[in-house]
Subunit: 153 residues, 2 copies
Amino acid sequence: MPAALAATAADFAAAAHLLVDFNREYDDPAPEPAWLADRLAALSAAGDTSVLLTGEPPLGVAVLRFRENLWQPVLEAYLAELYVAPQHRGRGLGTALLDEVIAHARSRGAGYLDLNTSEDDLAARHLYDKRGFDCHEGRGSGPLAVYYELDLG
Amino acid sequence: MPAALAATAADFAAAAHLLVDFNREYDDPAPEPAWLADRLAALSAAGDTSVLLTGEPPLGVAVLRFRENLWQPVLEAYLAELYVAPQHRGRGLGTALLDEVIAHARSRGAGYLDLNTSEDDLAARHLYDKRGFDCHEGRGSGPLAVYYELDLG
């Protein structure tokens, strides 16, 4: 079945549970699922966030963020999260969900879609490469594009 | 002199000229400066963008984008552009401007600041390293964090 845009409280609760599982899988800190469900609902209502769910019950989730691009009169889309429950991997669900993410970003008028991943996450990188994402400056043969963060807390 | 937040039409025009020069230096496409000045002013007025200028006349510019973080009730900040005119490099202007960027992001309540750069831009990477930015998953000793883009045009 195709992915669906989260719209109800039950959708956001399911998305929050998957995302909290995702963070626990990678030992990242995670908020309470109930808090995260409310956060996802509020950001979606505010208009800059789309949450996509796949499976019934939901087995995968993607979160996109949108904003106006600086350089052109279009939106830019950022794929903040993409997750399939571990026991359901290897069946193409991630690829199908990414295809829905791309179609959704296009349908909202985004000129490009970007994301960050880990150099050693070969499964994720293979998936992004397969769909035409590029991680090189100037595309193709340029140097690698590197993502930096500074904690301000 | 410290960096100042762009606020007037003249400020946005100066920022646009520097940013167009930046893109031309790297052979990236650039819009008309007048269009970009209006765009920067509109995005700044909408609240999700801050443009910082340094020098009189302006010799450097930084553009920050802000949005609500998914995981915590804080803003996240993205350093979209940081540029010092070529003939004024090597005098610490970039470091001083980055320090103002960090202070500004903190003053708006951002929990973190992120950016992308090219693996071979050693001057930029040295600057970000010096101020504590990290480009590894899990920080420090983890694998490199890689930035991917997909053109939807």
